[in-house]
């Protein structure tokens, strides 16, 4: 069998990456456990305080029931081995398992992140190329200034301002939520309704990354346009469009792919803010609710699963990279 076939190469990349991920996942779990231990008072204190009639005996009983009376390392081991089986503990507020709560909110967040990333990468590359082709001309100045502004804009604030303009003043778009309730729409009608609700949150979340990818593409286009192979392509009389898109952009786009993997981490943080602003029923809003109900198990479950999501997306990016650039055996 030929072990240099592309499929083999990809399989090796996946396997190596998964093995490298194991200690990181364990590390995340240990950090999570330590944060829980940092909290002043444990869940037994909280529940006992709320019941109002807690005797020391009752608190001790609660501690035994939750295993809080065992040695720390036993608790850590139980925590890690449970999490390995995706048992992230119990949400005492919702009276449901944490993993179940998160699973119910996963899809809206993934929709939001996919829409934002597509918008930011797609438009970012277009604007970056445009600016690089007309470097130091008015259009470059306009694009670069806009990028500079978007790069510094608090995304929760731009979300609120968009609500003021497009929902309150103009009445074009709904101010929040996932879909219009009670219409009973199905199929295409429902998809369009969800898309209308997703538009503002997706744009608000995308703006920062749009600025980032625009600047990145502009810089790497300026770099590649000076390369010898671009000069060669021009010298042999290829049309300018072909030179820019086929020769220069194909190479300039690689740093953008890498950056997409890096940015997934902060995209999840942005999701918390955007989902809170637009009442979008995803993981981010769940995190916000968990903060307010002091549901520490749920909050740390979200932190753990979003870390796992970061690892998975980076694995995908590595695969994409290996496909795009055959020279690289992703390390």
């Amino acid at each position: 069998m030929n072990r240099d076939r592309p499929a083999w190469r990809l399989a090796r990349v996946v396997l190596r990456r998964l093995l490298q991920a194991v200690p990181i996942v364990l590390g995340v779990l240990v950090v999570n456990f330590l944060i829980l231990r940092l909290a002043p008072g444990d869940i037994a204190d909280v529940l006992a305080g709320e019941s109002g009639v807690a005797t020391p005996g009752y608190v001790a009983e609660l501690r035994t029931r939750f295993g809080l009376d065992r040695p720390v390392w036993v608790q850590l081991f139980a925590y890690v081995s449970n999490a390995a089986l995706l048992d992230l503990g119990w949400s005492f507020r919702h009276a449901r398992p944490v993993a179940e709560l998160i699973a119910a909110r996963l899809v809206p967040t993934l929709i939001l992140m996919a829409a934002s990333t597509t918008l930011a990468v797609g438009l970012g590359i277009v604007l970056g190329v445009l600016a690089a082709r007309r470097v130091n001309r008015p259009i470059d100045a306009v694009i670069s200034t806009l990028a500079l502004l978007c790069y510094a804009t608090p995304l929760f604030w731009i979300g609120l301002m968009m609500i003021v303009l497009f929902a309150v003043q103009l009445g074009w778009l709904p101010s929040g939520g996932f879909e219009t309730l009670g219409t009973g729409a199905t199929g295409l009608g429902r998809i369009l309704d969800i898309a209308r609700h997703a538009l503002m949150p997706a744009v608000a979340l995308a703006l920062f990354y749009l600025a980032l990818y625009t600047r990145l593409t502009r810089a790497s286009m300026l770099e590649t346009l000076t390369q010898d192979y671009v000069r060669t392509a021009r010298a042999k009389g290829l049309p300018e469009r072909l030179v820019v898109f086929k020769h220069a952009l194909a190479n300039a786009v690689l740093p953008t792919v890498t950056m997409t993997g890096v940015q997934i981490n902060s995209l999840l943080g942005g999701a918390v803010l955007v989902e809170t602003v637009f009442a979008w029923p995803g993981i981010g809003r769940l995190a916000y609710e968990a903060v307010f109900t002091r549901d520490h198990n749920l909050l740390l479950g979200i932190l753990f699963l979003s870390s796992v999501l970061v690892i998975l997306v980076n694995l995908l990016v590595d695969l994409l990279y290996a496909v795009l650039d055959p020279r690289i055996e992703a390390a």
Partner: protein
């Protein structure tokens, strides 16, 4: 002195960076002027509620739903934002430099272990991580600084480690080893000064990110309940978005300008400290 003049000239060549510096100076002046111009607490109810901006010269930026002066909040918020931004950055840079320097200098298993630790912290979504820390430790200026510092050090560690690996084998370092200088002394007097430039550039950008993070936390209700922050002002004005959107708009513009100014200063420092790079 001559070096300093050269530095200033290279910095000033970037017009946008000069604008950034001016804006940062204005924000700093606002922070310093706050206790003089508005000696009372910005939480104090001082006027008629929901006064629009530019209506009453006594309250140039208007008042909020409880009759608190928006201008007082903006000025006091400046000192909160700058304090948290700067101190959190110091925490982050010190932690990152420590981890990166030890890993890069000693190598071997220490470097491996610190590398894994950096990976773990870099994998955890940093805003969600900070949110969990502040929520669980309960919000205060101290816990917010701690949380932002703890979640933002990994890029500094990677940067310093890389610089140390590159510098370690250079002749002047080998010479220091040869004359029997201690590790700590070589790190402090030879290596760190040589990677100061990229650390300074990173730090200036980090202050911007820290201010943005603090305002985001405060917007979600995780600000220190005892101090006025720009994010807190937006969070409290959110319910009045339909009727009094200026209460949301004003602090937001101030955050935007401050963050943009610090980013511009970072770019200017980068140009001035890396003169060999070709001008963009």
């Amino acid at each position: 002195m001559k070096a300093l003049a050269g530095f200033a000239r290279r910095y000033a060549r970037n017009r946008a960076a000069v604008l950034g510096l001016v804006l940062v100076a204005i924000v700093a002046a606002m922070a310093l002027a706050a206790p003089i111009l508005y000696p009372e607490s910005p939480w104090e109810m001082v006027g008629r509620p929901l006064l629009r901006p530019f209506q009453n010269p006594e309250f140039p930026l208007g008042t909020d739903a409880l009759g608190r002066d928006v201008a007082a909040g903006i000025l006091h918020g400046a000192s909160v934002s700058l304090t948290i931004g700067i101190v959190a950055t110091v925490v982050s840079v010190v932690l990152g430099t420590l981890v990166g320097a030890v890993g890069g200098w000693y190598g071997g298993w220490i470097d491996d272990a610190l590398g894994r630790l950096t990976d773990v912290f870099q994998t955890m979504p940093f805003f969600v991580f900070a949110l969990a820390l502040v929520a669980i430790l309960s919000p205060s200026v101290g816990t917010i600084i701690f949380a932002i510092g703890i979640v933002t050090w990994p890029p500094v560690a990677r940067l310093v480690r890389g610089e140390f690996l590159a510098l370690k084998s250079r002749d002047f370092v080998q010479a220091c080893l040869g004359i029997g200088m201690s590790d700590a002394r070589i790190i402090a007097t030879q290596l760190l000064p040589n990677c100061a430039a990229p650390i300074i550039v990173t730090a200036s950008i980090k202050v911007a990110t820290a201010i943005l993070t603090e305002s985001s936390l405060a917007f979600l209700g995780l600000g220190d309940p005892n101090v006025m922050s720009w994010g807190t002002m937006i969070g409290q004005a959110r319910d009045l978005l339909r009727t009094a959107w200026y209460l949301t708009a004003i602090p937001g513009v101030v955050i935007l300008l401050t963050v943009m100014a610090l980013n511009l200063v970072g770019e200017g420092l980068n140009d001035a400290l890396n003169p060999r790079l070709k001008p963009r």
